[in-house]
Chain length 451, copies 2
């Protein structure tokens, strides 16, 4: 009966936890993290999913063929736990028997138990089965798992239904320039950029409130620290809203819950990165700024820091950083919502802000910027069939090519809207990772399709 | 402030629930489910995500242009709730004001408020935004959401970490015959058939226990009631196991929790389909039968029911039905685990059952059959690098083409195994749906890529 390293440490230190007597033999299994040959005795640090434990061996450990134990081999040992102030964690295991379950080849491509900051990103991504053995790298994905769990739990508590929609679509609602093509039997389909229309279909179908956590695809050619060609999109859509402001409130509640859960469950992981999540109070103080004002703020900030004149014309990556810096200084939060984006920057289905004169220039849309990076795009959508039919030509689209899309709005669709949070970007910004690829287990970019 | 239909019914009947006084005006929003013009007054059944409510209107409802209210339009009404024994649910709302949020065109392709059993599968799938308005159809996906939630919660409680792996792979570990090809910039990649290797990488990387809920793809040409070309795979992988029997125990616990949660949360939905989930006791009684014995049972059953001689040579769809029928009769459970599949039926990485003579014919693998359908394939995997290298040629594979795969096992990989549950198949069999496509929101088959 296997016991985890952390439970042995706990049992010895606290005298509780394993369910076995502290002086009885226990069995532990894991990876050989470190070997220290002291002549007569050998110290081995064993690592399992829960932590590490010092093993003390009287004999030099070898396999059946007499070859010495290698770093990163997987072993099972039995022995008696004992207090030892000098051992990491304050206890160790005096080993009576050792079994090698899997012998690691001795040519490790890089040092697993060393300082990961010396390992380049490409080597980390090329060797996922090794790089994730480093607790600091693994911490990224422990936090990501908490993000997904908290996202889902919060929405369920608000009566949202989880959906799973198709990632294969016959076409695109947003134009076909950035789509990956799939050979689908005797025709071509495309990898979905977003579950947008499926979410809207579910709202119209009476589920009213839905969410989905699933891959999304962008065939963008640029290779930057903020782009992935395949990412995990955490999508939300809800009916019976009046404007994007209700969506911003929903996202504030959602992020607050996610941050609280990460703080509660992932204290050690945050510590490894010297990171902290924003408090509920901080999220509450996040301002919502109309697009035009945000552009002005970005220009003012740029002028201040660089002494130059205004030269920022939209919310580009530099503006995202500047607006967040401004918000942190002025509002005590570097989470900022920018709303009322101009129509020209938003897809045709975005709900216009003002229809009084029939030529709205602004929309009920928003982005969320967090620590200098856009993590969310969202907004209210046009739900009115006739308005959609009228809008299409203005965006160079033809109603006759959009019958599938339009049919969703033909037979009663409530006012609605939604947004998506980029899971990797949120992970990246919580931990302060330099590149969003670090927050993807198996990132895909123009060059990388393996592992 | 919008109130849900079920909360009004509850407030009037129980005198609690809305937070508003029962004699105050309330606001409800939803779809026009039914209209009954009684001359002087009009009864409208309003449907929202929570249920239905009878509205009473003194005037014939019309829109701003004087057109009569249409079925399936989305409306918001205000009015006072009142007891009425004759109304569905025992109460109704006397409407003082009505607003049409979205007028449904009067040419509904089929009757939403009628008996869904008259509507063919193709019409249901073609019109998802309408067909899901039928509570019985919507019930399928309420239950599916519970399945996914319960699957994830149970595994988290056992220290499994949720992962999100890439769905784009450079090649296939199982041969390339049933893969969809993707144009990926200047090269070709494939849609993943399963997260198999990624799960194994995570076990080797020290996460030890992982799960994933994500789409999986099979480019199979057959169009049967049991196949989807894109499905939701609920995947599990765990380290430090000795045989497939531990995986079967894990799946029993998992299914028990899923069934319990569906029973607890989806009573009304099960009732609509006249369905019931197996009890924990029933799951506990599920037998595990070696492959050869299962084939014999299937033949015996076939001979009994059809009077013919033995003619079943493997666990094909007919055998799945026969073995489940046998198990229900003999063991009181139509959940059956078949293990020890012959090597020729399993992928090369399946762990051999007996290596004593170096030529194992059986494997540490299993299928789960539920109510006549295979819902799971799983097993222990070969974790030994040298054994994998030796095995490859026997399956017509070359080590030099599999370096990425093999690297996962080079530097210490614990004994491990896992399985996947087909989410749509489990949903199908819980409810007794005739076709697995009914359990997919947007199914993809050889002909269908829309909506």
């Amino acid at each position: 009966m296997r016991v985890l390293a952390k439970d042995i440490v706990k049992a010895v230190i606290d005298g509780q936890g394993t369910g076995e007597k502290a002086d009885a033999e226990v069995e532990v299994s894991g990876w050989v993290h470190r070997i220290r040959d002291m002549g007569g005795i050998t110290f081995v640090i064993l690592r399992d999913r829960s932590g590490t434990l010092q093993l003390v061996l009287d004999e030099k450990p070898v396999d059946a063929g007499g070859r010495p134990l290698t770093l990163e081999s997987v072993i099972t040992v039995r022995g008696k736990p004992a207090l030892n102030d000098k051992a990491p964690g304050g206890c160790e295991l005096k080993v009576s028997s050792l079994q090698i379950l899997s012998r690691a080849l001795p040519d490790l491509p890089y040092q697993v138990n060393g300082d990961i900051s010396r390992t380049g990103l490409e080597a980390i991504l090329d060797n996922r089965s090794l790089s994730l053995r480093n607790p600091k790298i693994r911490a990224i994905f422990k936090i990501q798992a908490t993000i997904i769990e908290a996202f889902s739990a919060h929405l369920r508590s608000l009566d949202f239904t989880e959906i799973k929609s198709s990632k294969l679509t016959a076409g695109s609602t947003e134009g076909g320039t950035e789509l990956f093509e799939v050979e689908y039997f005797d025709r071509k389909v495309y990898l979905a950029q977003s579950p947008q229309l499926y979410k809207e279909t579910m709202v119209a179908a009476g589920l009213e409130r839905v969410f989905e956590v699933a891959p999304a695809y962008r065939a963008e050619k640029h290779d930057t620290p903020r782009h992935l060609n395949e990412y995990v999109s955490m999508d939300v859509e809800m009916g019976f809203i009046e404007s994007e402001l209700e969506l911003i409130e929903l996202e504030k509640g959602l992020l607050t819950h996610i941050f609280e859960e990460v703080a509660r469950k992932n204290g050690p992981e945050l510590e490894m990165w010297g990171a902290a999540v924003p408090s509920a109070e901080m999220v509450g103080k996040s301002p919502t700024i109309p697009y035009e004002e945000a552009v002005k703020i970005a220009n003012d900030e740029a002028a201040k820091t660089k002494g130059g004149s205004a030269r920022i014309f939209d919310i580009n990556p530099e503006a995202e950083r500047l607006v967040c810096a401004w918000s942190l200084r002025e509002h005590g939060s570097d989470l900022v919502f920018v709303n009322e984006f101009p129509r020209r920057y938003r897809p045709f289905y975005t709900y216009p802000k003002d229809t009084a004169d029939g030529a709205a220039v602004s929309t009920m849309s928003f982005d969320a910027l967090f620590r200098g990076l856009e993590i969310t795009t969202g907004g209210r959508r046009q739900h009115d069939y006739n308005a959609l039919v009228e809008t299409l030509p203005r965006f160079g689209l033809k109603a006759e090519n959009m019958t599938g899309f339009l049919s969703v709005f033909k037979y009663g669709c409530p006012p609605h809207g939604g947004f998506a949070i980029g899971c990797e970007r949120l992970t990246q910004k919580i931990l302060g990772l330099a590149n969003v690829k670090e927050a993807s287990l198996f990132p895909r970019d123009r060059k990388r399709v393996e592992p």
